[in-house]
């Protein structure tokens, strides 16, 4: 069927997306200028992807000539896309790295609310995992170190996360991340 040899290249990731439980984009990056280059195409693709994947948590699906691996937790869906000839296990390793890094950043509190509160750090983590389609780092510990999250200064527990006032939450966050 695809009787051809893969061109050796480091550009293996076509896209990474984080969606919420309505299939709405929280963050998404597409790295291949030839696939899904417009925001409109991307949104349509994400909708389609979400509809195909949100019911059954079966880790992998082929869609629009791409192999998509995914993982979900509470109200978050994480996706990593690659060419349909790509080694699926490489994609899975990137997905695991994405999930584990975010889990460390959010202190195991992987849900939309806490992710939105830490969106800046999550953006940085995404940037550290993949640079324009090249896998930059695959070790979650290295990633959370690089995004300046130091594990030794977590003096206050998670109980404060549910604080209502926006400003109060921000203050707390900055006290954590200083």
């Amino acid at each position: 069927m695809d009787n051809h040899v893969l061109e050796p290249s480091l550009y293996v990731i076509k896209g990474i997306a984080i969606l919420d439980n309505d299939g709405k984009r929280i963050l998404a990056k597409y790295y291949d200028p030839n696939t899904l280059s417009t925001a409109k195409e991307q949104k349509v693709f994400e909708k389609n992807l979400f509809n195909k994947t949100h019911r059954a948590n079966t880790e992998i699906i082929m869609l629009e000539n791409m192999t998509c691996v995914y993982k979900s937790n509470v109200d978050l869906y994480f996706y990593v896309m690659g060419s349909n000839h790509e080694n699926e296990l490489i994609l899975v390793s990137v997905l695991n790295c994405l999930y584990d890094s975010i889990s460390q950043i959010l202190r195991k509190n992987v849900e939309k609310r806490s992710l939105m509160e830490n969106l800046d750090v999550v953006m940085l983590a995404l940037d550290e995992i993949c640079d324009s389609g090249i896998i930059l780092e695959s070790d979650p510990t290295a990633i959370s170190y690089r995004v300046a999250l130091r594990n030794d200064d977590i003096p206050i527990g998670e109980q404060t996360v549910a604080q209502v006032l926006q400003s109060a939450k921000e203050q707390l966050k900055w006290s954590l991340l200083k």
Binding site: N3, R25, L27, I61
Partner: protein
């Protein structure tokens, strides 16, 4: 659970829990003014910057001015020492670099960060710098980049390597100078640095095969720590194997390396190696076995991605080496019930390819149980598998057909429905037993089909195949229903289909005429026109008119017809336009290629795309090979008087490949002339050939009219010379052999520039293989929809009959293929397919001889008991000499 989550979320929204809920572009850009305040309020600024990046990520588009303003405001934030804020600024620079103007302004700030002390800044600063760097600036930062590549911090080193790869696209020359640094990175202890180093090193050396060979030889001996790097190396090895293979090199050590990777400790690498081995062109059963057993093991892995990967690769192997996959049948059967539907579908289609006839019924039942749950893409895969199955086991057609018709009734997109219809059509055409059932299913389908293009295709098929079934009348109702209920395009197609019934089945004619009469009142022009046209042709009740104007259709090549008509309009003349002067469109062969390819199990090209391709290429009136020739030949004034081009042969090689000079010959036939076109290539880089021509010794009766030389033949530039012959008066002597010699003047030249060393040259010649002029060069293929009618119409005036015995030919299939290629005629009514297990067969052929004489051949073949094939050949044509020539050609 879902409900709970939703409640919680609603609550959140209400309390403004999502800080990015309802962010709005203009408001956020207003907020960005805070960037200009001193001292920088790090916390507030980070929040605003995050909002801007969030908006861009949501697909919001910033104008150039907006982006530039935001960008410049952002540069103020370099004053802050806050780590996260600085990192966000880098992200912002990368996002805005494409939209904003004058982004180079931050170069110095970034360079400072990149060479500074703070490790957390250095790596991302390098990557941000890459986004704004252009070629001129690259020189300035080159020194820093080279240092960064060999930096002791892995993050910095990786960032520099990855950035180099990005820059390679625009400035390969500069990056190539960093090869030593990349080499050093390859030896790094950090796995990612090693991977990125390998990537860059390969990118630099990619075009230098010797360099790659050395690199691979070195790396295959030292184990790579990074599994990513090992995968990359495997791909490099594969590429090298393919290249070495085509250059005739030795690849055993490379293959051994791939096999050793099957024992790597990382699953990722093992799978990559197995995938690589099965995809290599050279792989035979021996190499395949260890790879397959690894994949078989993966089939029972608890990880869905690994099972998916394994079964997908196995399903590809099943296309080319079905026997090798049979060993995994048991594991595949376990996957049919996999909770991941993609895996289950792939497992089933693989089993369909490898399984025996007995398991078909059981598998079909299992597919039926979940077909509605899988995506359209996978349904197409299933349909493709059923198609090849139908061709492999014709006896199972009723099971398959009823399954397909069930699928037709389900929901699905056009692509999916079209693939089902294609499959039914393929089975109907291939298997006469399945025809009636297949047509009935299709009839039912168009009753409720929302895709116009599909309905039109099916109506066309019904018009072609329906009249020749046992009970043609039963299709009329289905077709006429379309006339009543459908849109104009479908109605027009239905009217055409009806006319085919009228032309073929006399007993139905009165009824058809009544139906056509009704359609003459249609609201659409095209439908009305067609109905009127067919009505008036059919009402004359003349078989010749029917077959010529209804059954056969237009046979001229559309592109040429368009040109001829344009020419006629531009140069008006008294004489009416003669359609016969337009060359016939060569009958497209591809139609059978895909199904037969799958039939013999060697269907490696049988991707859904390639199966769909012939259907696609048949539709548009593309310029055919012949049209290209016409263009070229009409530019040569000497050939003007020959009239329209009748036929061009396929190119024949007159030299071995890989000799000094390579010459191919194409024979162009006109009504009374023949032009030999010699395409010559000079493969010697140190020679320039001048005054190149081909000296031809024509057979008796042929006269050489003109020879057009090629002035100059440079190294590896195709040059063409022509020889024009007049054909003998008598048709009977129009075959023969021409000996040919290439004559030229050689000048030695500098291989690099192609400039001749001196003006003196010497003459030389080079003997070519003979050019054979056979019967097929005078005949153009032309299909007849109904051979019987055409045969009767032609009459027996110029009929010749001869019997031959062909002892050297073993099977009927072989005989059929030989006769077709020898006579160059078009097989009619699928008679080129010999049903299995028959000892006799009738082959029906038709075509047109130059000068416009139709030729029909009926060839009865029988296997003789003492081996070999006996053939009785009957030829009918418009000219006695043509019949004689054709009949004598076979013996």
């Amino acid at each position: 659970m879902m409900g709970m989550k939703r409640d919680k979320k609603d609550e959140e929204d209400a309390s403004g829990g999502n800080p990015f809920h309802n962010v709005e572009k203009t408001a956020v850009l207003q907020e960005a003014r805070i960037f200009n305040e001193t001292p920088v309020k790090a916390r507030r600024c980070t929040h605003v910057l995050t909002k801007i990046l969030y908006l861009i990520n949501q697909g919001e588009i910033l104008g150039t001015t907006e982006a530039t303003e935001a960008f410049f405001a952002m540069t103020k934030l370099f004053q802050s020492k806050d780590v996260v804020l600085r990192r966000m600024v880098y992200l912002g620079i990368k996002e805005l670099a494409m939209i904003a103007e004058d982004v180079i302004i931050v170069t110095s700030s970034l360079t400072k960060d990149m060479t500074g002390k703070e490790d957390t800044y250095r790596a991302p600063a390098i990557r941000a710098l890459t986004a704004i760097t252009d070629n001129t600036m690259l020189q300035a930062i080159e020194r820093y980049m080279k240092q960064a590549i060999v930096d002791k911090s892995p993050a910095v080193s990786s960032a520099a390597l990855v950035s180099s790869l990005h820059l390679f696209k625009t400035a390969p020359e500069v990056i190539k100078r960093w090869v030593n640094e990349a080499q050093e990175a390859l030896n790094s202890d950090n796995v990612m640095v090693q991977y990125h180093g390998l990537g860059l090193l390969y990118q630099i050396r990619k075009t230098d095969r010797l360099g790659v060979t050395k690199l691979v030889a070195k790396l295959t001996k030292m184990p790579l720590k990074s599994p990513y790097a090992a995968c990359h190396l495997i791909r490099m090895v594969c590429k090298l194997i393919e290249e070495e293979e085509s250059a005739g090199g030795e690849v055993t050590t490379l293959m051994d390396y791939l096999e050793s990777c099957l024992r790597h400790k990382s699953e990722m690498v093992i799978y990559e190696a197995a995938h690589a081995i099965v995809n290599l062109r050279r792989t035979g059963p021996r190499e395949l076995a260890p790879a397959i057993s690894v994949l078989q093991l993966f089939c029972s892995s608890p990880k869905p991605a690994l099972r998916f990967a394994a079964v997908r690769t196995l399903s590809n192997v099943a296309m080319t080496h079905p026997a090798a996959v049979t060993a995994c049948n048991l594991d595949l059967e376990n996957l049919i019930t996999d909770s991941n539907r993609s895996i289950a579908t792939l497992a089933i289609t693989t089993l369909l390819k490898t399984g025996g006839e007995a398991s078909v019924d059981r598998l079909m039942k299992q597919i039926a149980s979940f077909v509605s749950e899988i995506s359209d893409e996978f349904k197409v895969v299933v349909v493709e598998a059923i198609r090849s199955l139908g061709l492999k086991y014709p006896r199972k057609h009723s099971t398959l057909m009823s399954f397909l018709s069930g699928m037709l009734r389900d929901e699905g997109g056009l692509e999916y429905k079209a693939s089902i219809a294609d499959t039914i059509i393929a089975i109907v055409e291939d298997n006469p037993d399945a025809k009636e059932a297949g047509l009935t299913h299709l009839c039912e389908f168009i009753e409720d089909c929302e895709h116009t293009s599909l309905a039109v295709r099916i109506l066309h098929l019904l018009g072609r195949e329906g009249p020749r079934t046992k009970q043609p009348s039963k299709y009329i109702r289905f077709i006429y229903n379309r006339v009543i209920l459908e849109n104009a395009a479908v109605r027009a197609a239905a009217v055409s289909a009806l006319s085919h019934f009228g032309a073929t089945c006399e007993d139905l004619l009165p009824n058809i005429l009544v139906l056509l009469q009704r359609s003459q009142m249609d609201t659409d022009d095209e439908v009305r026109d067609r109905a009127t046209y067919f009505y008036s042709v059919l009402s004359r009740k003349q078989a010749a008119l029917n077959s010529q104007y209804i059954l056969e259709g237009l046979q001229a090549s559309l592109v040429t017809l368009e040109k001829a008509l344009l020419n006629y309009v531009q140069h008006p003349s008294e004489a009416p336009f003669d359609l016969k002067s337009v060359p016939l469109a060569p009958v497209i062969e591809e139609r059978h290629v895909a199904p037969t390819g799958q039939l013999d199990g060697g269907g490696s090209r049988a991707t859904p795309a390639s199966v769909a391709a012939p259907t696609a290429t048949r539709l548009p009136a593309t310029a055919t090979r012949q049209d290209v020739y016409i263009e070229k030949l009409s530019a040569i004034p000497q050939f003007d008087s020959f009239g329209p081009l009748f036929k061009s042969s396929a190119p024949a090689e007159l030299t071995e490949s890989e000799t000094e000079y390579v010459v191919r010959c194409v024979k162009h036939t006109y009504a009374q002339h023949m032009v030999l076109q010699f395409d010559c290539t000079n493969t010697l880089s140190d020679q320039l050939l001048e005054k190149v021509n081909v000296a031809v010794e024509a057979p008796e009766g042929f006269d050489i009219l003109v020879s057009i030389p090629c002035d100059k033949l440079e190294y590896s530039v195709l040059g063409t010379c022509y020889v024009a012959l007049s054909l003998p008066e008598s048709v009977l002597s129009s075959t023969g052999t021409c000996s040919a010699t290439l004559k030229f003047t050689v000048k030695d030249c500098d291989p690099t520039t192609g400039q001749p060393d001196s003006d003196d040259g010497y003459e030389d010649d080079y003997v070519l293989e003979d050019v054979e002029i056979g019967v097929s060069d005078h005949i153009q293929r032309a299909a007849k929809a109904s051979f019987g009618t055409a045969w009767e119409e032609m009459g027996s005036t110029n009929e010749l009959q001869e019997t031959f015995s062909l002892p050297a030919i073993r099977t009927l299939d072989e005989a059929v293929r030989n006769i077709i290629s020898f006579l160059g005629l078009q097989p009619c009514e699928w008679s080129d397919k010999v049903p299995e297990g028959k000892s006799a067969h009738t082959l029906l052929l038709s075509g047109v001889f130059r000068g416009g004489f139709e030729v029909l051949v009926r060839s009865k073949l029988a296997l003789s008991p003492e081996g070999g094939v006996t053939m009785q050949l009957s030829v009918r044509s418009g000219d006695p000499e043509v019949s004689e020539l054709v009949a004598s050609a076979v013996g």
